[in-house]
């Protein structure tokens, strides 16, 4: 696996090819938009009965990232659960896996628009958190410098090649890709996203390897 190292507000980070963010000097791992319990929420609301395996799959991937990095702190950047009821209804198996993952490290749940409110699963619950001048929150705030957020599920690709979930990085902020198994993506070409970023920034595509390309190159068709 080849990852991409970069600097934001004088701190050194690594964008991992699996879509997680690693801060080596703090031994801090950050993931965003897990959307655990999504299929349960859709079924509950009278929708279709999607394969109920996304929580298992997402936690399995998270386990792999944690095993690879052995962080002392994990930050989940919001929308960790598809809604608060989904958090309550999370299976015993998933609860057990989460408890095992949390053992021996700090675990911070940042609040997202899907899961605004405390959840009854270990770890600390916060609106946002600042570590060494870097702000971690769910939805980006334009004025903040040195900020890491999620929410938008960005994806990008080079013309002629299919789009992949990606990190978006410019001089002041970073947006993480969605980590959950049942999450779609918003194209970097969408005005909502392209308006947030300086086109001189980078899109770091996830996949087999983390591949950094100028955002401007992803805007071309």
């Amino acid at each position: 696996m080849s990852d991409f190292a970069f600097t934001l507000s004088d701190a050194d980070f690594v964008a991992r090819s699996d879509g997680t963010l690693w801060w080596p000097s703090k031994r801090l791992l950050c993931v965003s938009d897990l959307h655990l319990g999504k299929s349960e929420r859709i079924a509950r609301r009278g929708g279709t009965l999607l394969p109920p395996y996304e929580t298992r799959e997402t936690l399995w991937r998270l386990d792999a990232a944690i095993t690879a990095t052995d962080p002392s702190c994990v930050i989940c950047l919001g929308d960790s659960f598809d809604d608060l009821t989904a958090a309550e209804n999370v299976s015993d198996d998933a609860r057990k896996t989460l408890t095992q993952l949390q053992a021996g490290r700090d675990w911070i749940w940042i609040e997202g628009n899907h899961d605004a409110g405390p959840v009854d699963i270990g770890g600390t619950h916060r609106g946002e958190v600042v570590v060494d001048g870097i702000t971690f929150r769910h939805i980006t705030d334009k004025a903040t410098r040195g900020e890491i957020s999620g929410h938008y599920h960005p994806k990008a690709g080079l013309s002629g090649l299919s789009q992949r979930a990606c990190f978006l990085l410019d001089k002041t902020k970073l947006i993480l890709p969605a980590f959950g198994a049942y999450t779609g993506g918003l194209s970097v070409r969408d005005p909502v996203l392209s308006g947030l970023f300086d086109p001189t920034g980078l899109a770091i595509l996830t996949g087999k390897t983390a591949l950094a390309v100028p955002i401007s190159a992803c805007l071309k068709r």
Partner: protein, 775 residues
């Protein structure tokens, strides 16, 4: 027809235009003429909305002239909401509809009241319906209606087909018999191939070269239908016809992507006799009565002899005169194919593949539809489903699988006990949440439409037509494309509408409309191969005969019973051409299997492209030993692993899962809120493959793919026929027969080591250019 109107089931087979539709209605008119029947008497179902409208017109005249007390109405996706509501409250005597609209009617709580007393159902163009899941859906709906009105008699009307007994089996209430009435086939058609001064091009489907000659034909005839195999080709051809139409002959266009208004306008003009020609696609394939058509032109090879015969029948609706048709090959290879098709037509050698058992995804939808109407008893429904010919061999276990899927999702992990879709109450199954009925109804149907967007002029309410969403995504402001025969300029996307402005005199960037890619039939391919084995080709035009001769000199012509492979370098890539003659779908599968094996062998394949006759693979490393790639044992072994990861399977899964109700397609709300909310069905496929590989949807996907898009049966046939004998011809440059493949669109990339290497090079170059390489 009148003599046998008492039969419980009857199949009438007549060539296109034998007046069979009106014959089908005669008994209804007689029975209704007394004026003592209340409510619905006759249902008429056709695969096309246009056909229903046409029949309404044709029935209206005699009924009003004779002053019969009969009300005839149509009900399709185009019928207004108010009209539909009124029809439910007060059904007409004769209702003209489509399988989808009928399934929707069956899903309503008041269905028993609507269908009580219905006497006859006429299924028009049943040969066309029988080829798809639409036919299965219709027959399932019929089994429900028959239960509500046990005296229902069934009549099927079919064009000439290769296996009438199979159609009859599908029509009758199983195990009742279904007599077949064969009408006089009429005189032999007069078919020829257009030969022009200008030679057909090497590749492509446009046939632009034929425009002057076809215009001449139009001038010499009263009314001409100009058939195309795809909508995009019809658009381009129509545009080119108008550019050359110096005499301003009235020529119209008709295809499924045009707006309802536009189609209706063309249909009306045609009925009035105002048009000299119509450029059209399969949307006119079926028996709409256009009056005095005296010539059918088929642009592009017909791919299938049966379809050709059916299209030709569109010309000359008088029974005793021969139909006249001209085939126009779009490219050089199609010249060969057209001549082969002409020979097959002369020999009455119709082609077709036997149909499998009733598809289970359609059954799942039927179970949900049944639940929408009322709580049901599982055993009763099972017995009822088994009266449908296609489902007569269905086992109880297979039925229960489908029921379980509808109720709980059918997962190995029992996760939704609380949130079941169907629940059993007092021995009957019903919807857990009555609100889900609306969602189920919105997803009725088995036609898999690629998501499309409407196209409109800015500040105009009028819809010009529709384009695929994926096509719209490739447009940038200023791009031009053709729609409804005019060139328009893309201005932007506004609320899911593609906004355009008028544009004159520029070469358009062409819209890629959806269109099923039909594979050339096995029989036709075999005819082509046998033509190759002749010493000379007097039936072929000189330019084509010389091309084949040149191939014979530089390499070899492919032979029946052997697989011919050519390898040569071209444009800095190493190329391998496989002449499989197994049709596009099978070649695509073969391409995926071969490239996977090449990847494993370190041959760095980059991509491939397929046609009906061959497959071209290009890569970074030359293939020197081809025989192991074609070892039949290895191909079969590799199939299972390969099947799991490939895009064709994912597409098949998407279709089956949508039909079965796992994925909702008509969720406009979801689309409006942006793509962020939706995720690709590929993720569901991957998740199931990993955690629940035996799930019903995956089993259905595997079975369907083997028959349809994957078409592995044809590869098996090919391997069996050839016993794996591969003729490997190594040449130092591109061969005459291979050359057109290099111009073929629709290239499929292979995401392997070769492409990763290219992508990394490209990314590195971009970063260097942007001065970011040290970041």
């Amino acid at each position: 027809m009148l003599d046998r109107s008492g039969e419980a089931s009857l199949l009438l087979i007549a060539p296109t235009g034998g007046g069979k539709t009106l014959a089908g209605f005669l008994p209804s008119l007689v029975e209704l003429s007394g004026g003592d029947h209340d409510g619905l008497h006759t249902l008429y179902v056709s695969p096309l909305k246009a056909l229903a409208a046409d029949i309404k017109r044709n029935l209206g005249t005699p009924i009003s002239e004779m002053g019969l007390p009969i009300r005839v109405e149509d009900r399709t996706g185009d019928t207004s909401y108010t009209q539909k509501r009124r029809q439910r409250a007060d059904p007409p005597h004769i209702l003209l509809t489509t399988p989808e609209s009928l399934a929707l009617l069956v899903s309503y709580e008041d269905a028993p009241r609507i269908f009580k007393g219905v006497q006859r159902i006429i299924v028009d163009e049943i040969h066309a319906l029988a080829e798809s899941k639409r036919g299965d859906q219709l027959m399932l709906a019929l089994s429900r209606i028959q239960a509500m009105s046990p005296d229902l008699r069934r009549v099927g009307l079919s064009a000439t087909v290769e296996d009438p007994a199979a159609i009859a089996h599908g029509l009758a209430k199983h195990p009742d018999p279904c007599p077949v009435v064969l009408a006089d086939p009429g005189p032999e058609p007069d078919i020829s191939m257009l030969v022009t001064e200008e030679k057909p091009p090497w590749s492509g489907g446009g046939a632009k070269y034929s425009v002057p000659a076809v215009l001449d034909l139009v001038k010499q005839h009263k009314t001409t239908l100009i058939f195309h195999n795809t909508r995009a080709q019809a658009e381009i051809y129509f545009h080119n016809l108008w550019l050359a139409n110096d005499d301003a002959l009235p020529i119209g266009i008709h295809h499924g992507s045009l707006s309802r208004d536009q189609r209706a306008k063309v249909e009306a003009a045609m009925v009035r006799g105002d048009l000299r020609a119509i450029v059209c696609t399969g949307s006119l394939d079926l028996g709409i009565d256009w009056g005095d058509v005296d010539l059918v032109v088929q642009i592009g090879a017909p791919k299938n002899v049966k379809r050709l015969i059916q299209r030709i029948g569109r010309a000359n609706h008088r029974y005793n005169a021969p139909s006249k048709a001209v085939l126009v090959p779009a490219n050089r290879f199609e010249v060969v194919e057209c001549v082969a098709a002409l020979e097959a037509a002369k020999d009455h050698d119709l082609d077709g593949d036997p149909k499998g058992a009733g598809p289970r995804d359609v059954l799942c939808q039927h179970i949900l539809i049944t639940a929408c109407a009322a709580p049901f008893d599982a055993t009763e429904l099972f017995q009822e489903v088994k009266t449908v010919g296609a489902y007569s061999t269905l086992s109880r276990a297979a039925f229960d699988d489908c029921l379980d899927f509808c109720a709980t999702g059918g997962y190995a992990l029992q996760a939704y006990d609380q949130w079941k879709r169907l629940k059993e109450v007092g021995g009957k199954w019903q919807l857990r949440d009555p609100r889900s009925a609306a969602r189920i109804r919105m997803n009725i149907g088995t036609i898999f439409d690629i998501e499309t967007l409407k196209v409109k002029f800015r500040r105009s309410p009028k819809t010009l037509g529709e384009v695929e969403e994926s096509f719209a995504a490739t447009l940038t402001k200023g791009d031009t494309f053709l729609i409804g025969g005019q060139i328009v300029r893309y201005e932007g996307l506004n609320q899911l509408v593609v906004e355009v402005s008028r544009e004159k005199g520029r070469t358009p960037k062409v819209a890629t409309f959806s269109g099923t890619k039909f594979a050339t039939s096995t029989q036709l391919n075999q005819r082509i191969l046998s033509m190759f084995s002749r010493d000379t080709w007097p039936a072929l035009p000189a330019h084509t005969a010389e091309w084949l001769q040149l191939q014979r000199e530089m390499s070899k012509l492919p032979q029946a019973g052997r697989i011919q492979v050519e390898t040569f370098p071209q444009d800095g890539r190493e190329n391998m051409v496989v002449y499989g003659f197994a049709g596009v779908n099978a070649h695509r599968t073969l391409g995926l299997i071969l490239t996977q094996r090449m990847e494993a062998a370190g041959l760095n394949p980059l991509g491939f492209v397929v046609t009906d006759y061959a497959l071209l693979i290009w890569g970074l490393t030359p293939v020197t030993d081809v025989a192991p790639l074609f070892d039949p044992e290895n191909i079969r072994d590799g199939l299972e692993t390969w099947l799991q990861g490939n895009a064709v399977m994912k597409r098949t899964f998407r279709i089956a899962a949508t039909v079965a109700g796992l994925i909702e397609r008509n969720s406009r709300q979801g689309r409006k809120s942006g793509r962020q909310a939706t995720f690709s069905s590929d993720i569901l496929y991957d998740t199931l493959a990993k955690y629940d590989p035996d799930h019903l949807m995956l089993r259905i996907t595997r079975e369907e793919a083997m028959r349809g898009l994957v078409d592995f049966g044809r590869i098996e046939d090919m391997l069996q026929r050839t016993k794996g004998q591969v003729d490997h011809i190594v040449v130092n440059r591109i061969t005459p027969l291979a050359a057109p493949l290099f111009l073929e669109p629709g290239r499929i990339p292979v995401f392997g080591e070769g492409r990763d290497k290219l992508l990394q090079d490209k990314a590195a170059a971009l970063m260097r250019e942007a001065g970011l390489s040290d970041l």
